[in-house]
Each structure stands twice: as structure tokens, then as C-alpha cells.
Symmetry: C2
Subunit: 195 residues, 2 copies
DNA sequence: TTCCTTTCTCAACGCTTGTTGACATCACTC
DNA sequence: GAGTGATGTCAACAAGCGTTGAGAAAGGAA
């Protein structure tokens, strides 16, 4: 048989998709294991690359984390794209939007990575806080009424709880539910806080 | 000035509260930094003790985690103790119970430790799952109606979300709210899922 | 007092981590 | 085709980790 891929040093022939490969691997590791347990070494191994190359491309671990967990679209963009401006039932509309957002693998991994990592890495916690403020801010019209700040926080609470119970500590039947059914249940919870 | 506590080897004179000191320190570190960043070394330092002593007392890190994050009371016990059997508003009653539970520092730290650690340590995630099943099981009468399993999961969702938004990624105004006001808001969310 | 057990410190181990510096190979421009 | 920069590997580092083993000091029973 031929030599088992001697893996010489130096640049590989042909075009390279390494940057994207590394970002994908990093996003996945951060999402599944959190900041500390995702290491340069296992990320690089997933991408079929030397750890040092990851450092050269993206800098420190913090830098890599930021680059890998940047969401591809904002909630507002997704809302426009899917057309639903202000449906008859705003709670169900928002629920569907959130579920649809988390349905996209890349964005879900980015979210999961940030939320999981926020449990132990303060910088990630700050990113989650900012993200919640930004994303929720785009939906202030929905959250009118008394104490809009508290209502917004209760919406965020349900979003974080959803991510936990569907992916971090999967609990049935929510963990195995279809997106459509999940949106119904979430909408039922959100309805208490949307005017 | 006197010698700066030369810290000789061997047993210290007088009675010892070291076991409890170590458990308290461990619970706090696990709660504030999660499983990986709470180390034998910083826990031992907090307790004013050598890391090796912690190992000798409690065994492996997993063992220490289990010992330090054991809740002192169950929800059911707390419910009996606080007298509220089945109030007129079951959602508000459960909300008050949960908030009251998390109001006790020792139990809150135990919960926080488990939940934070569940983000990266699978064994802790399993503990959270079991705990939710056990504690929620005691309240099945409240969760009657159609799809009791999904309703129970939605209650768990709000509980996890609450812990996150009040202590892990503190978001105002919920993070700085009084227990009473918080219970009102949480009750409003739970009401959608209790018959 | 003597002896055993418990409590406690110290020094070290093997391992993994993030990060670095030297160097090899390829693509591309002039 | 020479030179330059992007891409890639390898070996090593200092630091921190969980854990171990040997031994020191105190408490308690005989």
C-alpha cells in the first residue's frame, strides 16, 4: 500500500479552504464543549491542520472565539426576509422567528457557543448580554405596555431557557419536538409578556 | 511585628471546621466559575488549606463537586415548610416557592454550580436533568391538563432561564429586582402552563 | 506515657494548555 | 525564473492542572 499520508511540511498544493474549515470546526467545538474545553489542538485536528496555523490565522483564543461565533444574520434581517411584519398573533410570530433562527445550523452553533461559554468565560457572558440587548431592541414595538424593560427581560429569559432545555441539557419532549410544535409552546409562554 | 504565620506542617491545634470550610469554598467557586475553573488550588486557598487535604477529604474533583453541590432541602420539603399547600393561584405559588428556594444562599450556590458546570461538564448536565425530573415530579398535580410532559418542560425552561438571567448573565431589571416582584413576573410566565 | 488515628503540609509526578519561533513548501508577480 | 508573501508543519516553552506519597503535628484511648 501507499505511504500513509506522510504529511510533509509546507504549503499544500491547490486552492485552500482552510480558513473556513477552521472557523467551522471552532464554532462546533465551542458550541458543543464550551470555551475551555474547545482547544486549539482539537479544533485544529477537526480541520486537519496544525494548531500553530490556527494561531497564525486568527490570533489568540479569544480572537478565534469572536471570529467563529459571529452570527450570520440578525433577528431583524431574518424577520424582514421571512416577510412576517406584524402578524395577528405577535407572540407566535416572534416564537416562530426565534425557532427559525435557531434552526439554521451555523447560527445555532454560534448562539450555543456563546451561551455555553458564558457560563465560565466572562467575555462570552458580556457578548451574550450585548447580543440580547441588540436583538431585543429591534422588537420594542411588540413589547409596549407597562414595564417594557421587565417584559423584554422575561422574553430573553425564555429564549435562554429554550436554548438550554433543547440543546444544553436536553429535556423531552421539548428536546425532540418539531420546530412547528416548539414554536406553539414558546408562543404560549411569550404571550404573557407581549401586549 | 510577629512572624507572618510560618505555617508549619502537621495538624493544627484546637477543633477543626475544615471540612465545612472546604465545602463552602468549593460550592462558591463552582457556582461562580464553573467546574473547570474551580480548581483544587483556588478552593484550597479560599479555605486556607493545602490542596492535598481537599483530595484526602473528598477524593476526586467529581466527588468534591457532588458533595459540595448537594441541595440542603428539596422543593417539596420547602413547600410543606412554608405552609402553602395549594393556594388560589398555583402559578404564583410555585413562582414564590422557586424564588424563595433560590433566595437561600447555600441552595442558590448549589444550583448555580450545577447549572454553570452543566454547560461544559456532561456529568453535571446529567445531575441537572435528574434534579429537574425529581423536583418537577413533586408538582404533577399542578401540571394536569393536556400534554403534561410539555407543560412540565416549559416550567423547567423558565426556571433555567430565570437562573441565567438573574445570576449567570445578569440582565436588568430582573437581575436587580426584589424577590417579591420577581415572583410576580415569573408567576405570570408560569401561568400559561399550569392548569 | 504509649500508641493509633485524624488532620495537615510539602514536594513532586505526568499531563494538557495557549503560544512562540524556526523553517518548509507552494502560488503569484515582475 | 527570481523574489515575495501566504500557507503550512514541527518542536518546544512556561504555566497550570489533578493527583500522589511521604512525613509532621495534634487529639483521643489505653
Amino acid at each position: 500500500m501507499s505511504a500513509p499520508a506522510p504529511r510533509r511540511s509546507g504549503r499544500r498544493p491547490g486552492p485552500s479552504s482552510t480558513r473556513e474549515d477552521v472557523l467551522r470546526a471552532a464554532r462546533r467545538r465551542f458550541a458543543e464543549q464550551g470555551y475551555d474545553r474547545a482547544t486549539f489542538r482539537n479544533i485544529a485536528a477537526d480541520a486537519g491542520v496544525d494548531p500553530a496555523l490556527v494561531v497564525q490565522f486568527f490570533g489568540t483564543k479569544q480572537d478565534l472565539f469572536v471570529a467563529a461565533t459571529r452570527p450570520s444574520v440578525s433577528l431583524a434581517e431574518l424577520a424582514e426576509e421571512s416577510g412576517a411584519g406584524e402578524p395577528a398573533d405577535p407572540a407566535l410570530g416572534l416564537a416562530r422567528l426565534l425557532v427559525h433562527w435557531l434552526g439554521k445550523e451555523e447560527d445555532r452553533y454560534a448562539m450555543l457557543a456563546r451561551i455555553r461559554s458564558a457560563a465560565s468565560e466572562p467575555a462570552a457572558a458580556e457578548m451574550v448580554r450585548e447580543m440580547i440587548h441588540e436583538q431585543v431592541a429591534g422588537f420594542t414595538p411588540l413589547i409596549a405596555g407597562d414595564r417594557p424593560d421587565a417584559r423584554a427581560a422575561m422574553v430573553a429569559l425564555q429564549f435562554l431557557g429554550l436554548v438550554w432545555i433543547r440543546w444544553v441539557v436536553p429535556i423531552d419532549p421539548i428536546a425532540s419536538m418539531s420546530d412547528d410544535e416548539l414554536a406553539e409552546w414558546l408562543g404560549r409562554g411569550l404571550r404573557a409578556f407581549l401586549a
